[in-house]
């Protein structure tokens, strides 16, 4: 029954035509009759007690809807893992962008004047802003010890390896905050109907996260709250948890005013107040034998979660599990910790902890290579995980992955050896020095550990009265191609054409909870559920004799119409069933951390200009094994976009902090790469089957965020002979390092790196 020509084919985006004509409807393109605009008064100080709120002169405050914490009908929280983050500050503030008060008015211009006219008096409290300040516990700002979560992963007896080691290599690596910088800022519209039911339309990734948060905030039952995803102009994790906040604010203003309320953040508010990638510190201490084999190691991974917990525990979890990379560690101890500071909460961002810990690891692998006099290629080859070996959580590598072969191919595609030799020979005395660097890594697809089991996602298909099947999922499209690939999977499974299958707008009144659109899980997990649902639809039609073994789309439609006439609407929902062989012990961090892994080797070639200290990436090879590629154009687009975003993370994007507040919350002074800043990025896929994913697919969305940073900094070290272990790496950092005498010396005699 399979067409066999849908999976692996670059069909056009389902919603593509509406996007290229400007007809796609984003939340700010929508207006409701009588709608007001909402705005937020924020704290402005990092920590303190609120004494008094004053409404200044010159504003007719009667014209405004004003909401404070007292107006919240249910629980004052943005419910996520914990209920620790208030929707509106009630007496105290814990970061400089904390929302205190909401205003709504029909005139947007008056609104911004009114926000400025509200003044808040505080008793300031001492605040903390760095990992180290938080760890010192001089001020306790969250819980009893400023700690959101600790994780310990232990394998073997690492305490015994130090005496056997020929070398012990240590290093510390840091990554900065990164803004998602989706081009559409966050926004939502909320309205109550005459029966008191609440609907929110928003730019968001996870309709049911927002639904959950609104129920608790408003004290309303599930069927009284409806969340609709509008076309979403980029998200990258930034619209995973934050939309619950903006939806909550719009809902409270709508409740108070009795009118629909729209809140759209301007760019400055969006960048300053919403979540960013967690800043991190990774420390490695590794025991290595003289042949380059890792004997064991200690890894300490710490992230800054900001003022409230949000998703920090799960970001930490992914980071901790990925911290050992695609290598075999006979023994290892990973200690991970997420701590609190008085900054806006950090949150989900493509990669979700893995780019941070893998940056540390892949810089450290080059350091080990240098100490041992091995090449970066050889140190990786000698330590790669092999099928049958166990990872840090004890998970056995079941896939027939050959990382050595992947490495060989990346080396060949990038012409690594010849270039390395050429640069070493030609760099001396040049104003522009070239280097080449490599990173090998993996990325787990789907929720970590027992996450998918807990979610128990439901996805399905229904057939409309006209006989057209459509996909029912809460999985959202925000650029990655969700609508397209899920329709491809459903069409293939139904034995229809791609064009025959539609996609229901994610609306909690219409679609089941197929889980959040995160964690590179959509194709693998939700896609697989759609395969099951499609099989069930076919079974229903064949078992009542309406459909034979082979059929045309028209015969399918006729059969569906006949079925509906006799039995009512044809609909099938499938729920995630955890495979028996995937077992996870959350308490001890043992077992199958992920159902499948994507594997990759990336190679970056750079030029460092010693006059301007700027680094440009000249060539980039991205080679990955991602299971079956469902749509080659979209899959390539994911890798290209991810590598570009990661180049920004590495060389461009620096959040300037001042007492917990972002100082450069504009596109003018927080710089992301333009089309003129990026190299040609060469993308290659290897495809191994994956038993757990739809048509053998794995996840790919986050993978390309993990490798570029260490590959680029490894290339910079290759060019200059000077190690840099912190990103973003800006020209001023290179200038400073090269001005230091020691660095100058090592510049004239590059670190010894042999074949």
């Amino acid at each position: 029954m399979k067409n066999g020509d849908i999976i692996g084919t670059p069909v056009s985006r389902k919603e593509g035509r509406s996007k290229i004509t400007g007809q796609a409807r984003y939340v700010d393109d929508m207006a409701l009759p009588g709608m007001l605009y909402g705005a937020t008064v924020r704290s402005g100080i990092p920590r303190g007690k609120i004494n008094r709120i004053t409404f200044g002169p010159g504003i007719d405050w009667h014209e405004f809807a004003i909401v404070t914490a007292r107006d919240i009908p249910g629980k004052n929280c943005i419910s996520l893992i914990e209920d620790d983050q208030p929707c509106l500050a009630d007496g105290t503030v814990n970061h400089p962008e904390e929302p205190i008060l909401l205003l709504a008015h029909r005139d947007r211009g008056l609104l911004s004047q009114a926000v400025r006219a509200v003044s808040v008096e505080y008793d300031p409290l001492p605040a903390i802003f760095t990992l180290e300040e938080s760890e010192r516990l001089s001020e306790i700002i969250w819980g009893s010890d400023n700690t959101f979560k600790t994780i310990l992963i232990e394998k073997g007896d690492v305490d015994r390896v130090w005496e056997q080691a020929d070398h012990i290599v240590e290093g510390e690596y840091r990554t900065g905050a990164q803004e998602q910088l989706y081009i559409e800022t966050q926004g939502a519209i909320a309205a109550f109907d005459t029966d008191g039911r609440l609907t929110v339309w928003g730019s968001l990734q996870c309709p049911y996260y927002v639904h959950h948060a609104l129920k608790k905030l408003c004290g309303m039952p599930a069927d009284q709250v409806r969340v609709v995803q509008m076309e979403t102009g980029g998200a990258f994790g930034g619209k995973e948890e934050y939309p619950s906040m903006i939806a909550a604010h719009a809902a409270l203003l709508a409740l108070k005013s009795g009118k629909p309320v729209k809140i759209i953040y301007d760019r400055m508010e969006d960048m300053a107040a919403t979540t960013k990638r967690h800043p991190s510190r990774t420390r490695h201490r590794t025991a290595v034998a003289k042949d380059g084999k890792i004997l064991g190691g200690e890894i300490e991974f710490t992230i800054d979660g900001g003022a409230y917990e949000t998703l920090s525990p799960v970001v930490l979890s992914r980071g901790a599990i990925h911290a050992a990379g695609p290598y075999y560690w006979p023994s290892v101890r990973v200690r991970a910790k997420a701590v609190a500071t008085n900054a806006p909460p950090h949150g989900a961002f493509r990669g979700f902890g893995a780019p941070q810990s893998l940056f540390g690891l892949e810089r450290h692998m080059d350091r080990i290579a240098e100490v041992l006099g091995l090449s970066p290629i050889e140190i990786r080859r000698r330590n790669f995980l092999q099928p049958g070996q166990t990872m840090t959580t004890g998970q056995r590598v079941e896939e027939e992955i050959d990382l050595g072969k992947l490495l060989d191919k990346a080396v060949e595609l990038s012409d690594y050896q010849a270039k390395k030799q050429k640069f070493t020979g030609e760099n001396q005395g040049q104003d522009c020095r070239k280097g080449i660097g490599i990173a090998a890594f993996l990325h787990g697809a789907g929720f970590t550990g027992a996450g998918e089991r807990h979610l128990g996602s439901v996805a399905g298909l229904e057939v409309t009265a006209e006989g057209t099947p459509r996909v029912l999922v809460s999985s959202t499209e925000f650029g990655q191609g969700t609508e397209t690939v899920l329709c491809q999977i459903a069409a293939e499974a139904l034995g229809l054409k791609y064009e025959d299958v539609g996609f229901a707008q994610p609306d909690t009144a219409v679609v089941p909870n197929s889980g959040p659109t995160v964690a590179s899980r959509t194709v693998m997990v939700v896609g697989r559920l759609l395969e099951w649902a499609a099989r069930d639809i076919r079974r229903k039609l064949t078992s009542c004799g309406l459909l034979g073994e082979g059929y045309s789309p028209e015969e399918f439609r006729t059969a569906c119409r006949a079925y509906a006439a006799e039995h009512g609407p044809l609909r099938s929902l499938a729920q995630y069933q955890p495979p028996d062989d995937l077992v996870w012990d959350e308490e001890n961090y043992r077992g199958a951390a992920y159902a499948a892994y994507a594997w990759a080797v990336y190679v970056a070639q750079v030029t460092v200009d010693l006059a301007t200290y700027s680094v440009s990436v000249d060539d980039f090879v991205a080679l990955q094994e991602v299971g079956r590629v469902v749509n080659p154009v979209l899959a390539k687009g994911q890798i290209l976009g991810g590598v570009a975003q990661a180049i920004g993370f590495t060389l461009f994007e620096k959040v300037i902090w001042e007492k917990g507040r972002m100082q450069n919350s504009q596109m003018t002074n927080y710089i992301m790469p333009t089309s003129a800043d990026l190299p040609p990025i060469r993308v290659y896929f290897e495809e191994l089957a994956n038993d757990y994913g739809a048509h053998g697919a794995k996840g790919i969305g986050e993978l390309p965020m993990d490798g570029p940073a260490p590959a680029i900094l490894n290339a910079v070290q290759d060019a200059l002979g000077v190690p840099f272990d912190s990103i973003p790496l800006l020209p001023e950092d290179i200038s400073e390092a090269l001005s230091a005498g020691a660095a100058k010396r090592s510049l004239t005699s590059p670190a010894k790196v042999g074949p």
Partner: protein, 165 residues
Amino acid sequence: MSDCPQGRSKCEMALRVNGERIVVRAYPMDRLLDVLRGELGLTGTKEGCGEGECGACSVLLDGTLVNSCLIPVLQAQDAEIRTIEGLRSDSRFQELQEAFLELGAAQCGICTPGMLLAAFHLLTKKPQPTIEEIREGLAGNLCRCTGYQQIVEAVAEAAWRGTAV
């Protein structure tokens, strides 16, 4: 010119948008972007940053590519304004749109209208740009999804098809 001495009250201004003469009531210093989106319902023009950095609000003003978030509506009087809605029937624009669709140049779509206008403007000035010229020509329009490569390929493809016709 209209009579708005202080600029503090709304007044009527005549605009030519997508070939049509339209009278709007707005403050003279209202952003052209808001007038297009709010008053005229032309929501294909997007706002990304409000400070002329991202190019999502790109429109053509007398054939020149401008950020409509930086143009007071007063300044747009008497000029010919073209938005994505007005380019729908232009065959060269359609060629660009199709290339964007086929080659994966649109992901989330929020930068796409502005990007298409910037590409159209580039190809109008320079029908056969090199890859470098495309990269330079689009550098005023930010895209966070694609890494630009598939956009650059789409523009090159449309340019090629343009000469092939």
